[in-house]
Amino acid sequence: MDMNEHVGSGSEPDQTSDDSQRESDAQLRGVIDEYMSTFQPEPEDTAGVRERILQLVRDDLYRGPSTSLQTQQGHPFSISTASVRSIVRNAVDAVDGIRARSVDVEPAGDPEGSAAMVSLTVAMRAGISFAPTAEAIRRSVSAEVLAELGIPAARIDINAEDVYVD
């Protein structure tokens, strides 16, 4: 059992033993390097693991939360919240210099669910002007939500929370 687990810095070796440790590290370096090169993941290994992970994640997504909406003809339905967010995200990403981050879509309107209330945060490329870009985001999201979901966006809140450099 590791005795030093709960102790602070009291058991640190001093500077001279750091030096001797570096010496012994150098002696072992050859063996360590050889050991490290023995364990290289093959592309087939990573591909296999990747596929299994994504399948499990997809299954988990299918069981995820839903958003309740209603068509203009009055037919109620629920849709995986991930699917709705994806529609909005694509619309936001399509705007030059903008990356969608957090997306929230809530049922709105009367009857509830006949419209969508969208709030989102974005990262913007350094140097772009926010006000006209926000206009472009709203136009894009509004059009995409109507075209892909078939439901109008009643409200679109946008918050720029970060800047990135290309």
């Binding site: 997504l61 299918y62 839903s66 909406l69 068509t71 203009q72 003809q73 037919h75 109620p76 339905f77 629920s78 849709i79 995986s80 991930a82 699917s83 994806s86 529609i87 109507l146 075209a147 892909e148 979901l149 078939g150 439901i151």
Partner: protein
């Protein structure tokens, strides 16, 4: 065709399994519907055999159940990108209602269509 009545092991009787299968056929042929939730293909193919083993927690694409006051049709659908979601939803409703009008599903009392879009891709 299985003609027994009453539940065996789960929530549906043989009649409801057959009705589910009929609706499933109609719904999957709608443009924009990529698939129904996994498990339904097996159910449709061996509906008769499966009735006796069926548990309530198998995922089904279309699930017809009868409660106290009417009939509930549950549909879990995977859509594609070709049409707006609301458009496909409206068509699913009209197809199911048309099937019911034709007698594919016997409805007395309320009809409740519970539709969930599981994915879109």
């Amino acid at each position: 065709m299985y003609s027994g009545n009453g539940s065996v092991n789960g929530s549906n009787s043989g009649k409801e399994v057959v009705e589910s299968a009929r609706l499933a056929d109609s719904v999957t042929s709608i443009a924009g519907v990529r698939a129904l939730a996994p498990g339904l293909r097996d159910l449709v193919a061996t509906a008769t055999a499966k009735v006796l083993r069926r548990t309530g927690d198998e995922p089904v694409g279309v699930d017809v159940t009868r409660g106290g006051d009417g009939v509930k049709v549950r549909i879990d659908a995977h859509l594609d990108h070709t049409r707006a979601v609301a458009e496909v939803v409206d068509e699913i409703f009209s197809v199911v209602e048309a099937d019911i009008a034709r007698g594919a599903v016997e409805v007395s009392g309320r009809l409740d269509i519970d539709l969930r879009v599981v994915s879109r891709g």
